[in-house]
């Protein structure tokens, strides 16, 4: 399959995530959008690694295919850790404000 399709899909996912972050006020939704963006990047990495795993580049550097995929695993692990911290923050947020609307967190303004 052509790499352009993957790039397009990844771009769409990333944009959806970004717009979600910008537009939504629900902390959990924003959180999910962040995950979406991370996964869009993951998709792109995997796609490019697959693309480079053939031809001259692979012969010159045998690990070129696996590098990006290992990198993806790292991102997933870090994302998992981030989720645990992020959800904990959201729980605390709810406890304090009885809401998960991020726009209530505006006491540092001016």
């Amino acid at each position: 399959m052509d790499i352009k399709a993957y790039i397009a899909l990844s771009l769409v996912l990333f944009s959806i995530g970004m717009v979600g972050i910008l537009m939504r006020r629900n902390a959990i939704i924003i959180f999910m959008c962040v995950e979406l963006m991370l996964n869009a990047v993951n998709l792109l990495l995997v796609a490019f690694s697959k693309m480079h795993a053939v031809g001259e580049a692979a012969k010159a550097l045998p690990t070129v295919a696996s590098d990006a995929q290992i990198f993806v695993f790292f991102i997933m692990v870090v994302a998992a850790a981030e989720v645990s911290v992020g959800l904990a923050i959201i729980v605390m947020l709810y406890r304090n404000t009885h809401s998960i609307d991020v726009n209530f967190l505006n006491r540092l303004k001016n």
């Binding site: 972050i21 910008l22 967190l105 505006n106 540092l108 303004k109 001016n110």
Partner: protein
């Protein structure tokens, strides 16, 4: 120690040690210690100076190079001392009279609290140190260090009673006036360095160097040096600080007027006589300035009622005589007069201090009178001082003043006439002072009369010593006309050269006769006029001009001080307040304003922050890939 000339550096070092000990220990030293120690170091310096003087008299001169002071490229300025006839003579005057004044001060300043007392002696020692440095310096730069030092010390001592506003003003005036002169001196040094590359006396006064300087150079340099001398030695136009310097304690006045400070200008010109002899124009300026100062100050002194002010103007006038001698090329006479003047002026200042002490701080001679029967020693010694300064034959002032007058006559008879007139005024005002103070009846209050007493021996002994010196001091320079051989002229010959003029003995006798007769007449006139003195009305007409000192201070105030004040005011308002302050405050105000405008960006909305971040990142991409 086989030769005392090898340790000449000890002479200035001793007073410096005294200054450091008294200055740093002023909180802990008791009065007796600081006074004793302060006097002791000067005495030690005096004894060393005597030894040095004997060596010099035997024909040895010495230049001690201690270390390189400044070394820039080819210019080398050493920290060196020169001991020759001229400087060794000044050493004796400075340390000898300085010592007497120190001793006198221990009694005069006895009512001061201990820390101030030690401070006073510290300053006094520093004063002596600076003056020694000035005199001993082997080049103009070292002399300039001492030159500045005495300026500083005069400031400190005139403003010793700094709690009185008038006194600090007088101190500031002295400092500023001196600074004007110092600038001239400094410029002269720069000029010399630029033209010759040297500052040490031996090189710059050698024939080879003098040949290198054009006539314009010599005239310019000597005029600038003379400007420096007018500041230190209180000549027109910079003399006004000296009468105001009376604000300091009386022994300080004696020190400034007799042993140190004001003789610096004379010394400097005599030291640089090789240059001055070549600058005819400058010589004329010096002679005229000296003559004018002598006349002006003497006329002012006639109408002053403050005992110290009379003496102050008398000093200015006598300094004018010395400069007249310098200007007529009569360097020996100038130095001779410095010497005799140091004796009798120190004597009279200390005597006036004794009077003021007895009067409980009163300085107005209109409120004195008849003090002779209360304080005989002071009165008699003061009388001797008056005789000496008036130039009565047999007293020291006669010989030196006669020599100046004779030299002036040989130079230009009209100058002689004016100088003689100034000398007559001198006799007149000095005897006015003596008659009003010591004879007649007491005009002060009852309380003051009860308090009258002779001063303690620490004050009278220096008076007696100085009185003896005022009598015999002149005999080192008996002119050939009177059968003497003028020992001083012979002694100073290697340092100041030959006396320029030669009058036949008949003329000299005539001059002496005329001046003596007229001086006696002048004294008689003073006696006749003031023997039954009554308090008089406010003077009018010409007398009023004299009382107000020819309005010179007022003139300076209107012509220089006020314009500078108003210009400074303009600068203050425009450049300082609007320019500099405006710029600095403007930066602060701009930051403040900018911050207030940017504050809305921090809305507290997380979404807004992220939006900004995204926009920023997009901008970065655009810059990266499309620009």
């Amino acid at each position: 120690m086989n030769n005392v000339l090898d340790i000449v550096w000890l002479i200035p070092l001793l007073p410096l040690i005294g200054f450091l000990v008294n200055g740093m220990g002023r909180k802990v030293l008791p009065k007796s210690v600081s006074g004793f120690f302060g006097s002791l170091v000067v005495l030690a310096a005096f004894l060393l100076s005597c030894l040095v003087f004997i060596q010099v008299k035997n024909g040895q001169t010495h230049t001690a190079h201690l270390f390189d002071f400044i070394r820039i490229d080819s210019l080398k300025i050493g920290f060196e001392f020169t001991i020759d006839q001229l400087s060794s003579l000044f050493l004796l005057i400075i340390t000898g009279i300085g010592f007497l004044i120190h001793v006198y001060s221990t009694a005069y300043m006895h009512d001061e609290p201990a820390p101030d007392f030690a401070k006073y002696f510290a300053y006094l020692n520093l004063f002596v140190f600076s003056m020694l440095l000035l005199v001993m310096g082997g080049n103009l730069v070292v002399m300039f260090i001492g030159w500045e030092g005495v300026g500083l010390c005069s400031y400190l001592l005139i403003g010793y009673w700094f709690k009185k506003n008038d006194y600090t003003n007088a101190a500031k005036k002295a400092f500023v006036m001196n600074r004007i002169g110092d600038l001239g001196f400094l410029l002269a040094i720069f000029w010399l360095i630029a033209k010759t590359g040297h500052v040490d006396y031996q090189t710059i006064f050698s024939q080879a160097t003098l040949d290198k300087l054009s006539q314009a150079d010599i005239t310019g340099i000597t005029l600038l040096l003379f400007l420096g001398a007018t500041g230190k030695s209180a000549q027109i136009p910079l003399y006004t600080w000296l009468p105001d310097a009376m604000a300091g304690p009386t022994p300080v006045s004696a020190l400034i007027h007799a042993a140190t400070m004001v003789t610096a200008g004379i010394y400097m010109v005599a030291r640089s006589h090789a240059l001055f002899s070549l600058a005819e124009f400058t010589q004329t300026i010096i002679a005229i300035t000296g003559l004018a100062t002598a006349l002006l100050a003497a006329s002012i002194a006639i109408r002053q009622n403050d005992i110290k002010k009379v003496l102050a103007y008398s000093t200015v006038s006598q300094l004018g005589f010395m400069f007249l001698a310098l200007g007529t090329g009569n360097y020996v006479a100038a130095v001779f007069h410095v010497l005799t003047h140091a004796f009798f002026k120190a004597l009279m200042f200390l005597g006036s201090g004794s009077v003021i002490h007895a009067m409980g701080g009163e300085q107005d001679i209109r409120k004195m009178g008849g003090l002779h029967k209360h304080m005989k020693v002071t009165s008699i010694t003061f009388f001797i001082g008056c005789l000496a300064i008036a130039g009565i034959p047999g007293f020291s002032g006669f010989f030196s003043k006669d020599e100046i007058l004779a030299g002036t006559y040989a130079h230009a008879p009209w100058m002689f006439a004016l100088a003689l007139f100034a000398a007559l005024m001198t006799a007149f005002y000095m005897f006015r002072l003596y008659i009003l103070t010591f004879t007649g009846t007491f005009r002060g209050s009852e309380e003051q009369e009860q308090h009258l007493h002779e001063s303690p021996s620490a004050m009278t002994i220096p008076l007696v010593v100085l009185a003896v010196l005022s009598v015999v001091g002149g005999y080192i320079g008996i002119p050939a006309a009177l059968g003497g051989n003028h020992w001083l002229a012979a002694f100073l010959k290697p340092a100041t050269g030959e006396v320029a003029h030669h009058l036949d003995h008949g003329t000299e006798y005539a001059l002496m006769g005329i001046s003596t007769l007229l001086v006696l007449a002048s004294i008689g006139f003073a006696w006749f006029k003031f023997k039954s003195y009554q308090a008089e009305d406010e003077p009018t007409g010409f007398a009023k001009i004299l009382v107000y000192k020819w309005y010179v201070d007022e003139f300076y105030d209107a012509a220089i001080v006020k314009p500078i004040r108003s210009v400074s005011g303009i600068f203050d308002r425009l450049i300082e307040k609007k320019g500099i302050d405006g710029f600095v405050n403007g930066i602060g105000r701009a930051v403040n304003y900018g911050g207030r405008q940017l504050r809305w960006l921090q809305s507290g909305q997380v979404g807004a922050y992220i939006l900004l971040m995204v926009i920023g990142m997009l901008l970065l991409f655009i810059i990266q890939f499309y620009l």
